[in-house]
């Protein structure tokens, strides 16, 4: 990975000094050896601050949206970031010419807490960037691990067990909205939870409202989720949020498939927001 890191620094410096891009988004060193932060580099001489190693656990793609309107911005993108770029384009939050994608095939990151492969990387379906302007490093194999084990477990539960599972899950939720802020599908200007609806969605802690938030967010992102797993990684309470997202991907595949997840191309439309005259309508 050291070679890759050197190439990223070289390319970032070249792109910035030539003026082709106004900023490069990647990772920078934190206070500790195993902590990395998203870093936005705007001067060629700062390119040396970019880091790429097994500790780059954060998804940086959403930073792109903070720099639209500043000319072309380069993004160091792994499989997950590249799918996020497609997501933004499909959601009309970005145009392809606003971003320069430095693709990096990703072998998977390490969870600093356990020293093992990060959960979202262990479930990763797309390690090589699906879109890029240039590729740094050689493509890595795509093992496509089975990602529905947790879904299978919840599905096998009895009604009561499942109820208890979700009660426990949302009982812990503190509604900090870290999952939403991390999510590349969440690009609304005003989230539904921030709109006042007396009696429907308040500010106070309440398991029902937490569940309501979780379920509505799941519906809002269900057919667009790129399965990056960043929501689950960002959750300070450790909620198994991806079980809901994976379940939806599988259901959509069954009902409207074949469907492998969002962000694989930059042209929606996405299954649940598409009008087709031959849609299933057995309830009509």
């Amino acid at each position: 990975m050291a070679d890759v890191q050197d190439t990223i620094r070289e390319r970032a410096a070249a792109l910035l000094s030539s003026g082709e891009v106004s900023a490069v988004i990647g990772w920078g060193a934190g206070r500790f050896d195993d902590v990395r932060f998203p870093l936005v580099v705007k001067r060629a001489e700062d390119a040396g601050k970019l880091v790429f190693d097994a500790s780059c656990v954060q998804m940086t793609a959403k930073r792109l949206l903070e720099h639209t309107g500043e000319g072309k911005v380069a993004l160091v993108a792994r499989g997950c970031e590249s799918r996020a770029v497609n997501r933004f384009i499909a959601d009309h939050q970005l145009t392809r010419d606003q971003v320069y994608v430095i693709g990096v095939p990703c072998p998977g990151m390490v969870d600093p807490a356990t020293g093992e492969t990060l959960k979202r990387c262990a479930e990763c379906q797309v390690r090589n960037p699906v879109v890029h302007d240039e590729l740094v490093g050689d493509p890595v194999p795509e093992p496509k691990p089975y990602r529905f084990a947790e879904v299978d477990r919840v599905e096998a539960m009895s009604r009561e067990e499942r109820r208890a599972f979700f009660d426990e899950m949302y009982g812990k939720c503190i509604r900090c909205y870290a999952c939403r802020n991390a999510c590349p599908c969440c690009t609304c200007r005003e989230c539904f939870v921030e709109q006042d609806k007396v009696g429907w969605q308040g500010k106070a802690f309440n398991v029902n409202e937490a569940r309501y938030y979780g379920m509505i967010r799941a519906f809002h992102t269900g057919d667009r989720c790129i399965e990056c797993g960043e929501c689950e990684r960002a959750c300070p309470m450790g909620l198994p949020l991806m079980v809901i997202m994976h379940q939806q991907v599988r259901d959509i595949d069954k009902l409207f498939g074949p469907y492998e997840g969002g962000g694989l191309t930059d042209s929606g439309p996405d299954p649940l927001r598409t009008y087709k005259t031959d849609d299933i309508e057995e309830f009509m």
Partner: protein
């Protein structure tokens, strides 16, 4: 604080029989914001309307809830009352449906009354959120487009053109006329079908306001009621109609003579340059590119040599034009079900003497392949025994379609009559499931056929086999006597089901309207709006909407024409204000609404907006109010709720749910 008036209708005993209307009014008086509640025997009557108007003035009401029948029934009427006789905006009205959705579905007041109270409570809660809505004027292009040139399209075109509006008929075949000129005589009067339809065809051709585009199809429809931009592809005919005089020389000399004639249902042949029948309109031939040797192999050119006016043009290409129309009539007609594919037990098309009803029409027609003599297609002899099988495909959910095709009982009786009339001593057996003859002089016609000696046997034919002597052995059951029946027939006529024509589904997508489960176009309301669709400015005529016979088709075409004329008479029309509306400040321009809109009414546009006292240019969604039908698909697809339906805003619906849930 709003001042809501609640008006509960008895509807005679329709509502009052199962709902205690006085109790509903009493309960309404206790509901928040309700300033008045009362009842009336018939709220829609002139006296009931006056009552509403008086109370609004007397109690200074600013919102109205009428608890009565379905809003589909009288909402428009009550809106009109508010608009014309009070100062209230007509959209500050809610109708609580306590008839169709309450009194009619319940049997006793114990259940009906509390449910009616709940429905009123919901309407009261929503009324409080209602806002004033205003219509605006949409200009109307005073031209109509008719898709399909059968008798329905012809009738509609003539009626509209006679009212003074230009009409274009788009027909995908080489002539207008549809199926009617193929028929021999029409029930119940037995007048000659061609003699009454071909004059109408030539009337269309001669009419100064009617333009006929044959071999043409509608490719794209954009726009909305009053202003449809329609792209029409007129396929190459390879003949310059400005030069062609229709002399027919090319037809007589064309060496390709073995092509099965569609008009004669494959029972005769035609040439590659052809006119399907002598009275075709336009009365000029076209070249069938699939069979012309010049166009397929590049050699021949006989027609070009013999044409006295030099009208043949082998280089002719398709012409695509886009024009604007105010209204569109769908008169796309029907096809007969392909029985050969479905009914192997009737030979599946292997026996030449098992024919369809339409083939029989050609056989018995004086202009047909046998000049009106009923002769067996296999050997040209006159059949002495004929079997007619009704409901082939119709009322057969397993193999065919579940519905009744409506016309077959009558033309089946007509076929029996014609056979016995033309073949002295001929025997005719009609196998039927039921005999359905509702219509003026219809049953009399059927009874007459019975008296002439047609044997009606209630039951289906289970199998037809051909014996070595050429006889068709029809095995069936007489369900009235319970006996097995075997008839040795010389010819069998299958009265097959009407099905939607090929391409109906694609056309429905092109014009943005819905098909029912059987594939026929759906009318806006089966009783009250039978010739309209749910898409404004789009009307239905004839069998495009469902199986029907010629009298019904012509009547419906006239009705559709009346609706079109009513629209085109206006200088402008009022828009429906209950459409989607986008709150720019919440819209992130994600385009979910654009993808989900069934009417292509939403587009993304760049807008300059003021945000935090700064000017910013952003992409946001915009609704075309002419195209929007107010279905609400975008409002549920919109995650932050930027898209809202005026008249059905999220707030109002939430309040309705709350009102119900908290009672």
């Amino acid at each position: 604080m709003s001042r809501i008036g609640v008006f509960v209708c008895h509807c005679g005993t329709n509502i009052a029989g199962t709902v205690d209307v006085e109790a509903v009014a009493d309960a309404a008086r206790q509901m928040p914001n309700v300033a008045y509640a009362g009842t009336n025997k018939y709220m829609c009557s002139a006296q009931g309307q006056d009552y509403i108007v008086d109370i609004i003035k007397e109690h200074n009401l600013d919102r109205v809830v009428i608890a009565s029948c379905s809003p589909r029934m009288h909402e428009r009427l009550f809106r009109k009352v508010l608009a014309e006789k009070t100062d209230l905006n007509p959209y500050l009205l809610e109708v609580a449906n306590i008839r169709e959705q309450c009194s009619w579905v319940h049997k006793d007041k114990q259940i009906g009354t509390p449910k009616a109270i709940n429905l009123v409570a919901m309407a009261v809660a929503k009324a409080d959120c209602d806002t004033q809505l205003f219509t605006h004027e949409i200009p109307v292009t005073k031209r109509a487009l008719i898709i399909g040139g059968g008798i329905a399209g012809i009738q509609a075109a003539l009626d509209i053109a006679d009212a003074g509006f230009p009409v274009t008929i788009v027909e995908r075949k080489t002539t207008i006329g549809g199926k009617m000129p193929m028929l021999d005589k029409t029930f119940p009067t037995l007048d000659c079908s061609a003699c009454i339809s071909t004059p109408k065809m030539s009337e269309c051709e001669a009419h100064p306001l009617i333009e006929i585009k044959t071999l043409s199809e509608v490719e794209k429809v954009e726009g909305y009621i009053g202003n449809f931009d329609v792209t029409i592809r007129e396929k190459a005919k390879y003949i310059d109609y400005d030069k062609c005089t229709g002399c027919g020389m090319c037809e007589t000399k064309c060496p390709q003579k073995k092509i099965p004639s569609e008009f004669n249902q494959g029972m005769s042949t035609r040439t590659a340059v052809y006119k399907p029948f002598p009275q075709a309109v336009p009365s000029k031939p076209t070249i069938d590119a699939d069979h012309c040797r010049m166009l397929t192999e590049g050699k021949c050119g006989v027609c070009a040599k013999v044409c006295p006016t030099g009208a043949i043009d082998y280089q002719d290409v398709d012409r695509v034009t886009t024009e604007r129309y105010g209204a569109i009539v769908l008169a796309t007609g029907y096809e007969l079900i392909d029985w050969t594919r479905l009914y192997g037990e009737y030979g599946g098309g292997r026996y030449a003497d098992v024919i369809s009803g339409l083939q029989f029409e050609r056989l018995v027609n004086a202009s047909g392949p046998t000049e009106g003599h009923i002769l067996r297609p296999s050997d040209g002899t006159e059949p002495k025994t004929m079997v007619i099988v009704k409901c082939v495909g119709s009322r057969d959910p397993h193999k065919g379609v579940p519905y009744c095709s409506r016309a077959c009982c009558m033309y089946g009786a007509k076929h029996a009559h014609q056979f016995m009339d033309k073949v002295p001593g001929g025997k005719c057996f009609v196998f039927y499931m039921d005999v359905r003859t509702p219509g003026k002089n219809y049953d009399e016609f059927y009874m007459n056929t019975l008296h002439e000696g047609a044997r009606y046997i209630r039951g289906r034919i289970s199998k037809i086999t051909r014996r070595s002597d050429g006889k068709l052995v029809c095995l069936g059951e007489d369900t009235l006597s319970g006996n097995v029946v075997e008839v040795d027939a010389d010819m069998v006529v299958l009265e097959t089901a009407m099905v939607p024509p090929e391409g109906a589904k694609k056309l429905a997508q092109t014009v943005n309207t819905q098909l029912g489960p059987e594939g026929f176009f759906t009318e806006a309301h089966p009783k009250l709006r039978p010739v309209e669709t749910n898409t404004g400015g789009l009307y239905l005529a004839g069998t495009a909407q469902g199986p029907k016979d010629i009298p019904d088709t012509v009547a419906q075409a006239g009705a559709a024409a009346a609706k079109v004329i009513g629209l085109l008479c206006k200088q402008s029309i009022e828009s429906n204000p209950m459409v989607a509306h986008v709150d720019d400040s919440k819209c992130s321009g994600c385009g979910a609404c654009v993808d989900i809109c069934p009417y292509s009414a939403v587009t993304l546009v760049e807008k300059t907006l003021r945000e935090n006292s700064r000017k910013v240019t952003r992409t946001v969604a915009q609704v075309n109010e002419g195209l929007c039908q107010g279905c609400g698909a975008c409002t549920v697809a919109c995650r932050p709720g930027a898209s809202d339906l005026l008249g059905f805003n999220d707030e109002g619906i939430m309040r309705e749910v709350e009102a119900y849930a908290t009672r």
